[in-house]
């Protein structure tokens, strides 16, 4: 016992009233730091001991503001900037809809600041090695007794004198509490460091993932959306008798927006006119579609000269020949719709407007490769 330091001298009181009465006496008698241990918060004790007021309200206010800003920032960034979606025709940044979550996060931040800030920061809990916890009177204190402690605070104190002082001021009994060796592990500071370490680890792991994804693009950690039990566009399937995964529309299905194309003879629709104006966007679109769909066979210039002749052993039509050039737009439209000879129908691949745009471009090609004389002279002038 002698080689251990005295932590404090406890005077045990039977009631809160006697504790309160004793405090001024002990305070004037002993110069050391005073601390009271009570089973419940006794009102007026803080003032009697001269303790500071709790700063917790200010902490909560600061964190509440941070919480609401964080919530607004999160919502602004995700819904307004990074992943803007139209919901019910509302603007991307619709503050009205953000208020509920702002409120919730404000409360969350504030409540956890009050709770954890009180426990971890201000009260320095958890702390299992405090000398008081080993005191014999601790079970009494948490039950119904009140203790006034005169704490040594690292200095040596006169135990006998203080004991007498406490007894004189009304303590029912006195206990000397010793300082046990202090272990630092389970301290709030340790917990805080662990928390910060976890936060840093999360960030490091996140950034590491980021760079890993950059360096190894095929490494995709979450494949939920990619891995779906569905058939690819041309996959076979034994479920249907024809063995195909794709289904034809029901017999007689018509498009919702247009009436069915029932013309069979190429001459019949020859009267149709091209409804699209010959403007640059239309011609550009026609050129793109021609290159995508038609040039494979008809050639990029429409002259029917492609490698297909050798590969597929077909001789696609030269669109520049005079009798093709003489066809009306309507007749050519019919060929796109119904196909001709080896050419299949492109009615499923090109929409109505796209067909007409392609036809415009065919006229462009015919003009380019069979230009008028003045075209050439104007071109050479330039």
């Amino acid at each position: 016992m002698n080689n251990r330091e005295v932590f404090s001298v406890l005077g045990i009181f039977d009631s809160a009233q006697s504790l309160m009465r004793a405090i001024p006496e002990v305070k004037s008698g002993a110069a050391a730091k005073l601390e009271a241990y009570t089973p419940y918060p006794v009102h007026g004790l803080d003032e009697a001991l001269g303790l500071r007021k709790s700063p917790i309200a200010g902490m909560v206010l600061v964190m509440a503001v941070i919480g609401s800003i964080a919530a607004l920032g999160l919502e602004f960034w995700t819904s307004g900037v990074d992943y803007p979606q139209v919901t019910a025709g509302k603007p991307y940044f619709s503050w009205e809809a953000f208020v509920p979550i702002m409120f919730e996060l404000t409360v969350l931040f504030a409540a956890f600041t009050a709770g954890l800030g009180m426990l971890l920061l201000l009260n320095r809990l958890p702390f299992f090695r405090h000398p008081m916890l080993a005191a014999r009177s601790m079970p009494l204190i948490t039950r119904d007794k009140f203790a006034l402690a005169v704490e040594a605070g690292g200095k040596t104190i006169d135990v006998e004198e203080i004991s007498a002082l406490l007894r004189d001021s009304g303590a029912a009994s006195v206990e000397v509490v010793e300082s046990p060796p202090v272990h630092g592990l389970a301290s709030p500071r340790f917990f805080f460091r662990v928390l910060i370490a976890i936060a840093i680890a999360c960030c490091v792991a996140g950034y590491a993932t980021y760079w890993a994804m950059k360096l190894f693009p095929k490494a995709i950690p979450m494949v939920h959306m990619l891995d779906q039990p569905r058939l690819g566009p041309q996959q076979g399937n034994t479920f249907f008798t024809d063995g195909s995964g794709m289904r034809m529309p029901v017999e007689g299905t018509v498009s919702r927006i247009s009436i069915p194309y029932t013309v069979d003879e190429q001459e019949d629709p020859s009267a149709m006119g091209n409804p699209l104006p010959r403007t640059a966007p239309v011609l550009g679109r026609g050129r793109q579609l021609f290159n995508d769909y038609c040039s494979v066979c008809h050639g990029i210039l429409g002259n029917g000269e492609t490698t297909l002749t050798a590969a597929y052993e077909a001789k696609p039509t030269n669109l520049l020949s005079k009798n093709i050039a003489a066809l009306t737009d309507g007749s050519m439209y019919h060929v796109i719709m119904k196909g001709k000879n080896s050419m299949p129908s492109y009615s499923a691949d090109l929409s109505q407007d796209e067909r007409w745009a392609v036809l415009h471009y065919v006229r462009v090609l015919q003009r380019a490769l069979d230009a008028k004389d003045e075209d050439v002279s104007s071109a050479q002038k330039e």
Partner: protein, 383 residues
């Protein structure tokens, strides 16, 4: 009566006369619409302040609160404003054909409005108004006149009897206030409807009652009366004010959010009117004055019992309740200007008249319900 009081009385009487002249001029110069809309606004403002006080009295009896007993005489006296509003309400009935579209036959061609004619018609409307006035006057008589009589003989039986009546009054209050909200305010736009509107008006009413009570208590304390009222009592008043500021904002925001989100024409047009023109600024001012500023004033613990902060917050709340009524009612005119000498003269008249009335009622009975058996306990209230 001191000279100073007499001087104040003279000023108030003068205010009444000037105000009367002003509103008469309004009636003949600026038209009936402007006259009646201001009349309705001031009628509802003073009515809700008085009813709010009556509600505070009833609330104490219902929950059996003891801390508020020493304060009770103040809302009891202030609730006399309800009685002052009886003639004002009867005069306001003349505004129906001017302001309320459903009272005009040509509007009834609209099938939506015509369907509501069972409820919205002048005879039934007037009947409801009269019924409400009778019920309020009766409640006022039960709560207040007898409480003042209790001062003299100190019969505790009164407290028991009034406690039996108080829950009934709560029901009466809830229904009549909802009727007021739907009839006087909501039906200015007969297509618009909102279930929560009664609750919204209740939040404003209770706040107005609390605010005038707080202001009166603080004024009397400053004049040397009610010295037994401790900061702890004021703290509770401040706490209630704080809580119901939040409640009002919650109800107001809930109504706005739901209408904004659903975007149904007959609902959202009401807000559209009240957000366009200058009214959006008024709403913004209300968000500040009715919620944010008093919220932050009253947030600190010490401010709730500090007369300066408390009176500031209460005055703000009272003013913004008036602003709230302006914002709800005035856009029904669909006119742009909403402040001029016309509004000022109405303010002068009604404020002067109300203050005169309150001055008179402040002389009724003792400053505290001295006959109440719970007074001693209430005075000993500490946090």
């Amino acid at each position: 009566m001191t000279g100073r009081e007499r001087r104040a009385g003279m000023i108030l009487v003068l205010g009444c006369i000037v105000g009367l002249a002003g509103i008469a001029l309004t009636f003949f110069v600026s038209g009936m619409q402007r006259f009646w809309i201001n009349w309705i606004i001031w009628f509802l403002f003073l009515l809700t302040a008085g009813l709010g006080c009556l509600f505070i009295v009833a609330l104490e009896h219902v929950v059996g609160a003891r801390w508020s007993t020493p304060l009770r005489r103040i809302p009891e006296r202030l609730s006399g404003l309800t009685i002052l509003m009886v003639p004002v309400a009867l005069v306001a009935l003349f505004s129906l054909p001017v302001l309320y579209p459903w009272a005009r036959p040509e509007v009834l061609r609209d099938p939506m409005v015509a369907g509501k004619a069972v409820w919205l018609n002048i005879p039934f409307f007037s009947l409801r108004v009269v019924a409400c006035l009778v019920l309020w006057a009766l409640s006022y008589w039960i709560f207040v006149s007898r409480s003042i009589r209790q001062d003299r003989h100190g019969d505790p039986g009164y407290t028991v009897r009034v406690r039996r009546f108080a829950p009934l009054f709560m029901a009466i209050f809830g229904i009549t206030l909802t009727v007021v909200a739907f009839d006087w305010i909501s039906s200015l736009d007969p297509l618009w409807y909102s279930d929560i509107f009664g609750v919204y008006l209740f939040a404003g009413t209770f706040l107005a009652g609390l605010a005038v009570t707080t202001l009166a208590v603080l004024y009397l304390r400053k004049r040397g009366r009610l010295q037994e009222i401790k900061p702890d009592h004021l703290y509770n008043l401040g706490g209630f004010l704080f809580a119901f500021i939040v409640f009002w904002s919650y109800i107001g925001f809930a109504q706005y959010l739901l209408m904004w989100y659903a975007n149904i024409p007959e609902e959202v047009l009401w807000y559209k009117e009240r957000l366009s023109g200058g009214w959006g600024v008024v709403l913004l001012a209300m968000a500040l004055l009715h919620f944010l500023v008093p919220f932050f004033i009253l947030m600190a613990r010490n401010a709730k019992s500090d007369p300066r902060f408390l009176s500031g917050a209460a005055a703000l709340v009272l003013f913004s309740h008036l602003l709230d009524l302006y914002w709800m009612i005035y856009p029904a005119l669909k006119e742009k200007s909403f402040f001029g000498w016309q509004e000022l003269s109405f303010a002068v008249l009604f404020v002067s008249a109300a203050l005169l009335w309150i001055r008179r009622s402040m002389k009724r009975g003792e400053d505290m319900p001295v006959g109440d058996p719970m007074l001693r306990e209430g005075l000993g209230f500490r946090l």
